[in-house]
Symmetry: C2
Subunit: 424 residues, 2 copies
């Protein structure tokens, strides 16, 4: 029966079997210390002589558990026997047991298969698993149904730009940029409240710390809402649930990056400012005249929110019509019932109330110079009774990045795809 | 404040606001009955005169809740006022309020956006949402971490056949057939136990009720196992959790298809037979000499399991080496440490213990005539210490299909993609 490293403090005095990876070897002549890593953490093994094993090898050891104040966790295992389950070659391409801050992002990603063994790097994805859990649990608690929709579409909702094409038997299809048409279909089909967790694709040539070409979109759509304010309320609840979940389950992972999550209680205080107000705030904070909210402006807005509300996030609503997709519900003065959430200086969510009236949608298609012919399936949703609704999408990797304070969104992606990177 | 139809029995005597879709209108002269559909179910509205509204329109009504033994659920709402929120055109392309058994699969899928409103059809996807929940919850309870890996790869693990190619900037990539290499990477990176829910692609020309070209793969990988028996134990637990969850949450959805799930208690009795034994059983049951287990043979095996163990499922293990991928752990007599799960006559899972030794893997590549050059990233996992491990994948749509007894797996797919179908 295998014991996990994290269980050792509870079994001092007994004999145990441990399995895991050799994280570090320290040979002091008569005695050798080995740090063993398993899924629960790290523990100290003591050998009478230098063990014949390399770093990163997988071993199984039998030994007795003894208290030792100087050992990490206050316990160590005095090894009686060791078996090398799987030996590691000596030419390790990545320094697994060192601070990844000393290694370039390029090297981390080029050697991804091994770099992921680094405990700090791996901790990013333990935390990400909690985000996935809390997002789904919170929404299920509000009667949302989880859906899984196709990632291959015949034509783009918003035209063919920014789409990757796929050779599909004798025809061409495209990778979806978002499940937009499908989540709207499902709320109109009667589910009313749906969420989807799935990949989304953007064939954009950006190569910045904020962009990746494939990402996981945490998508939400909800019917019978009054306005986009209901959606911001919903997202506030989701964020509070995620922050609470991360605090409860991932303190070690936060510590690995010297990161903290906002107090879940403070989420209700996230300021909501219109796009016009946001520009004024940025002007005031940066002392520059502002025409569009730049990445610098997004950071200034979050700093302002921290100063005024104690939380590094801000909802910006009422974006101009020309900057949002054709299905966005219009508002007065050429504005829209739309919003973004900026968190720690980065846009992590975009959302809106959607047009649910067939005639209004047809008008908007004309205004956006789009051909209704290619959108026939989409338009049928609205022709046969569709409740008022809206939704949003949270970028999973961006949220992870900002929770942990990572320099690039690629660090928060297991196997990132960018313009040049298609492996591993 | 909106009341849901399902809440009506608890508020007899009060005045409520309901919102939803007009499912059916029955005009009896002096009085009209309207069936209102919302996400919670269906309820009866009573109007003094024929309401000016079409089937599938979204309405909001105010009225008083009265007990009526003859009404569905024992209550009805006597409507005082109605507002048409979103009118439906009269040329409904699909009979939403009729038994979908009378409609062809082609028509259901061609008119998918509207066909999904049919309560029986929609119920398939409520149940599917429970499968997703129970799969994840059960595994999280056993310390599994959820991962999200790229669906775009530079080269196929098993060569380029059966892959869809994607134009990716100036190069070509492929849609993944499975997250195989990535889930193995993550168990070796130290997570030990991972699961992934994501799309998988097969560019196969099959056009049968069992095949789709894009499906959701419920993937599991687990380290420090002794043999493939541990994996069958794990899947048994997953199935029992899913069946119990469906029984608790989806009785109405099961009823819509006159379906039942196996007793979760019986899952532990699912027979495990070797591939050779399975062929003998099929021979005996069908009276025919058997060389390979055909779809007919799979049905015969499940019938046999029902007779002998009271459960319509069977694990078949020890498949011949030539019929399994190169990474499958070999066993005696040219067999492998692999297994399939057949459920109600259909393969819904394929799994195996994997080779975790670098030298054995290199030998196997040669035996399979595969080039190690294209698998460099994959091979590095094993070069630097990899514990014994294995895993499997459950086809979400096939499991849904078989739980509900649907004729085609396409019925269990929201927006199926087959050789000819790329819309809606």
């Amino acid at each position: 029966m295998r014991t996990l490293v994290s269980e050792l403090p509870g079994v001092v005095g007994s004999t145990v079997t441990l399995s895991g990876w050799v994280h570090r070897i320290r040979d002091l002549g008569g005695v050798s210390f080995v740090v063993l890593r398993d899924r629960s953490g790290m523990g100290q093994l003591v050998f009478d002589a230098k063990p014949d094993v390399t770093v990163e090898s997988v071993i199984e050891v039998h030994g007795s558990v003894a208290a030792n104040e100087k050992a990490p966790g206050g316990v160590e295992v005095r090894v009686q026997s060791m078996r090398v389950v799987s030996p590691a070659a000596l030419d390790l391409p990545f320094p697994v047991n060192q601070d990844p801050g000393k290694t370039s992002l390029e090297s981390i990603l080029d050697n991804r298969m091994i770099a992921l063994r680094n405990p700090s790097i791996l901790s990013i994805f333990r935390l990400q698993s909690t985000i996935l859990r809390c997002f789904a649990e919170y929404l299920r608690g509000l009667d949302f149904t989880e859906i899984k929709t196709s990632k291959l579409i015949g034509t783009g909702t918003e035209g063919g730009t920014g789409l990757f094409s796929v050779d599909y038997f004798d025809t061409k299809v495209y990778l979806t940029q978002s499940p937009q048409i499908y989540k709207q279909t499902m709320i109109a089909a009667g589910l009313e409240r749906v969420f989807e967790i799935g990949p989304a694709y953007r064939a954009e040539k950006h190569d910045t710390p904020r962009h990746i070409n494939e990402f996981i979109s945490l998508d939400v759509e909800m019917a019978f809402i009054e306005s986009e304010q209901d959606l911001m309320d919903l997202e506030t609840g989701i964020l509070a649930a995620i922050f609470a979940g991360v605090r409860a389950s991932n303190q070690k992972d936060l510590d690995a990056w010297k990161a903290t999550v906002p107090d879940p209680e403070l989420c209700a205080r996230i300021p909501r400012v219109s796009h016009d107000e946001a520009k004024e705030i940025v002007s005031k904070e940066t002392g520059k005249k502002v025409y569009e909210i730049s990445p610098e402006g997004e950071r200034a807005l979050c700093d302002w929110a921290m100063k005024t509300a104690g939380v590094e996030a801000v909802f910006v609503f009422a974006y101009p019509r020309k900057s949002r997709p054709f299905y966005t519900y219009p508002a007065e003065n050429n504005r829209t019932k739309s919003f973004d959430l900026l968190f720690r200086g980065l846009e992590v969510t975009s959302g809106s109330m959607r047009i649910n009236r067939y005639d209004m949608l047809m008008e908007n298609l004309q205004a956006f110079d789009l051909n209704p012919e290619g959108l026939k399936d989409y338009l049928s949703i609205f022709k046969y009774g569709c409740p008022p609704h809206g939704g949003f999408a949270i970028g999973m990797e961006r949220l992870t990045q900002k929770i942990l304070g990572l320099a690039s969104v690629k660090e928060a992606t297991l196997f990132p795809r960018d313009r040049k990177r298609t492996r591993p």
